[in-house]
Symmetry: D2
């Protein structure tokens, strides 16, 4: 097995997660380097990373590195993809691809010219349950899909500092659900209508953001979709999808913390859903990199393309516009 020598740009929460997954669980990769302006060297050494740097260019231009994993702040994504692509590296990039449609388009042009393998970090596509629903819809188990409903609620919200620069709930949180909706229905979104409310904390209003939202989608093939979001589900990470079609209906339930049921005098009790994304999407984070490795090894197309990243961003922007104007927005 030919190992893929990978360098990671960004050693924040998600960069560290990938680095640890690669070191402990994904032996098909070799963790060749990590770059971050304020990298935690002790942590990096514990993973035996040979090249620890503050300059991401070092990784991009390193001859003994095959692939770059971009987990830096969103504002840097497009430029880093372009640089890595021009240096002939394969690229795995966390969402979003960039902040504006123009920047992304320019970036994707380079990627195409260079025939770069570019995979976007829509990890939920690799959740075994959601992936299975996708596959079963594709196989026709429910006939023509008519409706997709995604429930996506976080157990708690990040710091307001983060919220301020997050681009808003649709760009930060719902973007995953927009991608999931396209993935499950297998068709592009042509119309978006979004509602938002501030029901959890007034700070969201100060950030000009919503903490609770419902977004309605219409797909090219006529199917309808609906997503509901909350920044605070006290019972844990609520991540369910359902796809309804003319021959049946597929539903992925939450996975619970355990399988013990208690029957007491007044009621029966069981476990809440897994707490948050680290627990819930543990397998998905591994599977997306395994999939990236396979595509790299066999020169296959990316399982989550630049266009997928672009489409999700366009839906998020349309949702924002819909919220501001009170109108459905056509894409």
């Amino acid at each position: 097995m030919k190992p893929c020598r990978i360098g990671i740009i960004g050693a924040g929460r998600i960069g560290k997660l990938h680095a640890e997954n690669i070191y402990y669980r994904l032996s098909q990769f070799m963790l060749a380097g990590i770059a971050d302006p304020c990298v935690d060297r002790e942590w990096a050494q514990s993973l035996s990373i040979p090249l620890i740097t503050t300059q991401h260019e070092e990784l991009i231009h390193h001859p003994a590195i095959d692939a770059i994993l971009i987990a830096s702040p969103s504002a840097f994504h497009t430029n880093q993809i372009i640089a890595a692509s021009q240096a002939n590296k394969a690229v795995f990039c966390e969402k979003p691809l960039g902040l504006t449609e123009e920047a992304i388009q320019a970036c994707l042009t380079v990627v195409e010219q260079q025939q770069t393998l570019l995979q976007i970090g829509f990890n939920r596509r690799f959740d075994p349950n959601f992936a299975s629903i996708h596959r079963r819809v594709q196989l026709g188990e429910i006939g023509h899909p008519h409706l997709v409903h995604i429930t996506s609620r976080d157990p708690t919200w990040p710091s307001m500092d983060y919220i301020k620069t997050s681009g808003g709930i649709f760009m930060d949180m719902t973007i995953h659900d927009f991608d999931m909706a396209r993935f499950l229905i297998g068709s592009d979104v042509v119309e978006v209508f979004a509602s938002g409310s501030v029901l959890i904390h007034p700070d969201f209003a100060e950030c000009n953001d919503s903490d609770t939202a419902v977004i309605q989608l219409r797909f090219k093939n006529g199917a309808l979709g609906v997503i509901d979001n909350s920044r605070q589900a006290v019972y844990g990470y609520d991540q369910r999808v359902e796809v309804f079609g003319h021959q049946g209906y597929l539903l992925a339930k939450n996975q619970t913390q355990h399988a013990v049921h208690y029957f007491g005098r007044h009621e029966t009790r069981y476990a809440n859903p897994l707490y948050f994304f680290l627990e819930r999407y543990q397998e998905a984070y591994l599977a997306e990199l395994e999939s990236f490795y396979q595509a790299w090894l066999h020169h296959q197309p990316s399982p989550v393309t630049g266009n997928d990243g672009l489409q999700a961003l366009r839906i998020a922007m349309a949702a924002k516009q819909s919220l501001q104007t009170g109108k459905a927005i056509c894409l």
Copy 2:
């Protein structure tokens, strides 16, 4: 126990259902008469109904009748309510209250002047599961409600003759869900956005109707709501509600046809939901009349008022307008 002598106008499917429930199950009522232009006399005699007539006025003006149950075609509802109200009968009326807001307003004015007990047949409020969620939301178990989601899918659609005169999916089918949404959130709807598609059968398009719909609601208290409808769920009557709030989340699952699970070589199988409304809302149909009886006996306010009927109709009309204009409609 003082019996309530009741006369039923309309001996179609729903009129017969109520008559049989009263005869076999609700001993607090006395089934005093039934009126229908083409009444099935043999059936009526099997229920020992003393007065069988083609003229509903006979019931309305009969001195030994305390209450009128209106199960006639929708177009007659307002006039029959007015007549019964003026004859000092208590009135139980199937939805909708009428076809136009003006007619309903006029009718409700008479009802108010006459101090008539008027209950609308939103039977689902009396489903034990939905009623329990309503009560628990009221008791504050989930804190402030943020989101309501109603899944309401029929196993199959009625004849196209019925569809043609039904007033469209929002007036005929979603009206129950609009009422349920108001009931569960405990606040009025201030904004509606609706999408519809024809995905099941092209005849719906010819009737200028949708067979699949998603409707988004905003409530006065800031909460958001979403309803999804289909005219054909092949797996049975899909009737679920969930209410999400800042302290928790309540969910009413479907009730299944049985409780047997089969574990075979390849998968585990269990029962689909109950087939349709007769099975699913059997208890609710009984409970709504028991509730009507209690209100009548103790001179209490109606559990489902004329205003509830009016509000649901206004939301349905707004949904229709939203679909036609592609805009959110404020109420």
Copy 3:
């Protein structure tokens, strides 16, 4: 539809239950009379029963009565069956058939000579879930049955006065489970081993009885069975069966009081099982009489024969003997 004119002997809890079911729900029967030494006449009149008597012989010999339902104390069962059989009535008798094997044998001889339709009140066979498992086992869905496991726990125990004369837990409570085990496996029991403990209340020890028991069965076809019993399940009536075979496994879960799930900060809660037999076996009580009516009308064999009653009693006696001797007992 030819009505079956039925007389009920015994107006205790179970006699009243059947009388009310017949009056309100089973129009194929005519409730012709009721006999009890201390009958509640007001209650009987509310059901419009024409013949109310303290002498059961009046019912047995009444020419306008087709069938006798025996719900008297167990000690009278055999003699009443014999008398009714000799009077050419069809007989529905609550369990047990009698108190000794000899008495039952003598009674069954008369029943056979007279070709009397005799059905034993093993109502649980008519529970829709258990009946479905029986049918599916018969149809071969699990191949050869290997194991049956019955969980049968009461929410609370009857008065100690009742316990004293009940014949012990195996005769009073497990007898239903013995019948169910035979019914589901479709083979006779050839060996019994029983354990019992007094864990709930010391009064059971004073009555020389157990309040907690586990009984192991071996069937003629080689299958094994196990029953666990408790006189006090604080969470409600726990009535589950499972049958395991070489091609699969069938499980009937408890039916819960409602279908609402609450997801709170610490855990998820849902409803306990239905409280006790009146709630849990409501449909089964109706279905057993419907089945009796069909057998009577069409001169078909009894769905629950005298032999079924005898076999269950023999297993119960063997269990008692096993508990006393600490040995497995062969039948």
Copy 4:
């Protein structure tokens, strides 16, 4: 963190499993050596094991090894424990401790004299669900425990060569359940009654073994227990436990292969249980070694003692005797 340098005796299926868990997942251990007469050197090198040998004595007497994990054939366990104990190593030993009670007693005497840390590989105690039930029973959530029921069915049986030397179903398979029963009830077993059948394959009869069994237990504290076993559950590894007490009831359901439900025209389908022990007890295998490490590091008592191993074996022997004699056996 001080690493525990561990040597593994036996590189069969379970030895390899532990080796791989240690190498990839348990960084608190250092995999210092492996001994097996026919060790797979290529595999061992892939785990960077420094000492690969055919002589287990090399590991036992190696000065740079702190602990020995025994995964050799059962017949060697007692002698290897004694040798390791005398060499002052901590010992983790797969079940059973030995083949006869005398050998085990002798072995445990040495272990005690040497104050050796000895942990038995009853991995299921570390299954998160079963461990949670144990903890909750200990905390009194169900009051006094009255009944334990363990369902333990394998998806398929091992080779007949294995069966022949396995010591029979009670020693090979049920021994885990006997330990689980003691663990959950928190009391020793005082009486055993066992039934067995050959229902799956006649070869079991030729081996003088059963493939289907039900075992009944009585505990010192009066509680009752029941275990049902099958060598072939076509739907997967069926591993459930329930503990019933005077204040409630705890149930650990199976964990399913996924969380997707499909609602089709005729029924609803979902996933079978996880296939077998490698999937089902993945976490338990890790957790038992983590626990061993903690006991070793902090000089704490073993979480699964030699006495636990001895008791389970004694129950297994009594079960065998019960099956042969048809009598309950007292311990």
